[in-house]
C-alpha cells in the first residue's frame, strides 16, 4: 500500500513540476494585474497632473503626456496657500502623535502593571467608548469646544485626536505581554514606578509605539471630517480641507487639481514607505486582538 502511493507520487512528479511552474507564472501575472488595477487611479492622477486641462479627458487615453507640463506643479502654490496647509497639518499631526503616544503609554502602564482600586471600572470606560462612534457625540463635543474658545483653532483638531481610547487599549495589550517579574525586580532595586516606565517599559515597547505613531500620524494627516467641522479660516486649514477648497474653487482646472492631489499624497507616502513594516505588522497583531 505504502509503496504504491510512493510510486504514484514518483510517476506524477515531472508533470507536477511543469504544472507548478505554470502556476507560479500565473500567480505573478495575477499579482501584477492586481497591483496595476490598484495603482491605476494614482497613475492616471500623475499623468493628468502633467497635462493641459483640455487633454485630461482625451480619447483614447494618452497615459504619457505629449508634453510634460511641469509648470502645473509650480502653479498650484500660487493658486492656494498650499505651503501653509502643509505647515498646519504637520504641526497638528506631530503634536497629536506626540501627546497620544506619551499619554497612552503612560496610562497603559498603570492599567497593565499597577494594582489599585477602581482600575477595572476605569478601563471599562475606555473600552466602552471605543465602541461609540465619534459621529454620535461630535455635536456636544463641538459645542463644548466652541464654549472654551477652540472653534476655528488648530488646537481643536489636536485635542480632538490626542486622547483616543484606542491608543491606551493598544499599549495596554502590549504591556500585558511584558513579564511582571521585570517590574518587580526593578522595584526591589529601588526604581520608582516612573523610572520603571521610562527605563524598562518604554524601551521594550518600541514596536508597539512605532505602530501607534504611524497609525496616529497617518490618521491625523488624512483626517477630513474633524477639520471640516472645526476650521473655517484659511490660515488654519489643514491639507485635506485646503485641498477640498482648492478643488471647489478651481473646479474645471482638472490638471491643477490632480497636481495638488499628487502633492498632498507625498508626505504620507514617504512615511508609509519608510515604516510600512511596523504599520502592516501592527494591523496584523492588534487588528486580530481588536
Amino acid at each position: 500500500m505504502t509503496t504504491s502511493i510512493m510510486n504514484a507520487g514518483k510517476a506524477i512528479r515531472p508533470e507536477n513540476h511543469t504544472a507548478q511552474r505554470i502556476g507560479k507564472v500565473l500567480l505573478y501575472v495575477a499579482l501584477i494585474l492586481l497591483s496595476v488595477v490598484t495603482l491605476i487611479p494614482f497613475v492616471w492622477m500623475l499623468s493628468s497632473s502633467l497635462k493641459l486641462d483640455r487633454e485630461v479627458f482625451e480619447f483614447p487615453i494618452r497615459w504619457i503626456p505629449q508634453v510634460f507640463h511641469w509648470e502645473n506643479y509650480s502653479l498650484i502654490w500660487t493658486k492656494a496657500p498650499m505651503l501653509m496647509y502643509f505647515k498646519n497639518t504637520a504641526i497638528v499631526a506631530l503634536s497629536v502623535t506626540f501627546i497620544q503616544t506619551m499619554t497612552s503609554s503612560f496610562a497603559a502602564y498603570a492599567f497593565a502593571k499597577l494594582e489599585f482600586k477602581g482600575r477595572d471600572t476605569l478601563f471599562m470606560c475606555y473600552i466602552a467608548t471605543i465602541a461609540v462612534p465619534w459621529q454620535a457625540y461630535m455635536i456636544p463635543q463641538f459645542i463644548e469646544f466652541r464654549a472654551i474658545g477652540l472653534y476655528d483653532k488648530l488646537t481643536a483638531i489636536m485635542v480632538l485626536q490626542a486622547f483616543s481610547a484606542f491608543g491606551v487599549f493598544l499599549m495596554r495589550q502590549f504591556y500585558r505581554g511584558i513579564p511582571t517579574e521585570l517590574c518587580e525586580a526593578a522595584r526591589i532595586d529601588g526604581l520608582s514606578e516612573y523610572g520603571i516606565w521610562a527605563r524598562i517599559m518604554l524601551p521594550l515597547s518600541k514596536a508597539a509605539i512605532a505602530t501607534l505613531v504611524i497609525f496616529t500620524f497617518i490618521g491625523t494627516w488624512n483626517d477630513y471630517m474633524g477639520p471640516m467641522i472645526y476650521l473655517t479660516t484659511e490660515s488654519v486649514k489643514t491639507v485635506q480641507v485646503g485641498l477640498r477648497r482648492f478643488i471647489q474653487e478651481n473646479s474645471s482646472d482638472y490638471h491643477l487639481i490632480m497636481a495638488a492631489s499628487m502633492v498632498s499624497l507625498i508626505p504620507v507616502s514617504v512615511v508609509f514607505l519608510c515604516l510600512q513594516r511596523y504599520f502592516i505588522e501592527g494591523i496584523a497583531t492588534s487588528g486580530l486582538k481588536g
Partner: protein, 328 residues
Amino acid sequence: MSQYTLSREAKRRKGSLERKKTLVALSFIAPNFIGFALFTLIPVVIAVFMSMTEWNGGKLSDMHWVGLSNYEALFAVPQRYIDRLDNPNFFSILGLFFDKVDLGIALKNTVTYTLITVPLTLVCSIALALVLNKAVKGAVAFRAILFFPYVSSTVAICVCWNFMMMKNGPINQLLMLFGSTFNKTWTADSNMAIWAIIIVSVWKSMGYYMVIYLAALQGIPRELYEAATVDGANKWQQFTHITLPQLSPTTFFVSVMLVIGCFKVYDTVALMTAGGPGRATKMLVTYIIDVFNAFNYGSACAIAMVLLVLVLSVTLIQFRMEKKFSAD
C-alpha cells in the same frame, strides 16, 4: 495594649502605602484620562440628553427640553403621503417611511451600501490574501502596493475617482469598448452614484483587511493541508473545507469591523456625491451633518443616537458570538 497600638500603627501605615500606590497609579492615568473624560466621556453623556432638547446653537438659555419629540419627528411619515395611500396598513406606511422620509432614506441607503460593500470587500481581501500568501519574490512590495490606497488621502483619491467616472472619463471610455452605452457622470446618476461610492470604498479598504487575512492564513497549521493532500483533496476542496472554516473567526471579526465602518461612512460620500443626486446617496452621517449645518442641534443628536443604537447592537452581537467562538 502596646500590641494593639502597634497593629493599628501597622494598619495605618499599610493604608497610607495603599493610598500612595493608588495615587501613583492615578498620576499615570491622569494626563490621558482628563483629556479623555473632558472630550469624549462627557460629550457622550451630553449627546443622549441633547437629543431630547431643541436648540439652534445660540444662547445656552435658549435650549429647551422637548422629550422624545425629536425622535417622533424623525420617524413620522407626513399625513399627506398616508392620505394618498389606497390601503394604509403598517407595511405600506413603513414603505413610505423608507421612500419619502429623510431618516428612512438615509437608513435604506446606509444599509444598501453596507450590504453590498461588506461582502465585496470580504471577497476581494480574501482573494488578495490568498494570492499574496504563496511564497513569491517581492511579496513585501506587492503587499505595500495593495495596501497603499488605504493610507492615501480620501480627498485626493475621491476627486481622482470622480474625474475618472465623469461622463467622458476613462472608465466610461473603457466600458464603451465592452459595448456599454452608459455615458453619464456616475455620481450624477441616481442609480450609479451609490456604486461609485462602493467601488471607491472597496478599493480603498481591501488592502487593510488583506493584511488581517494574511496573518490569519499564516496561522492555519500546515498539517491540515498535508493530511488533506494525502486524502486526495484537490485545491478547491482544500479551500472550502480547510481554509474558509479556519478563517471564519477572522471573517466574523472583519465583517463586524466592516459593518460598523459602513454605518459610519461619511468622507467618501461627502466628497464624491454630497449625498446626491437628490437624496440617492444620503447616508446616516451625511444626514447628521446636514441637520447640524441647519442649526437643528437637538434633532442632529437624535439621528446620532439612531446611529449609536445601530453600532452598539452590532457590537453586542459581536460580543455574544465571540463568546460562542471561544467556547467552541
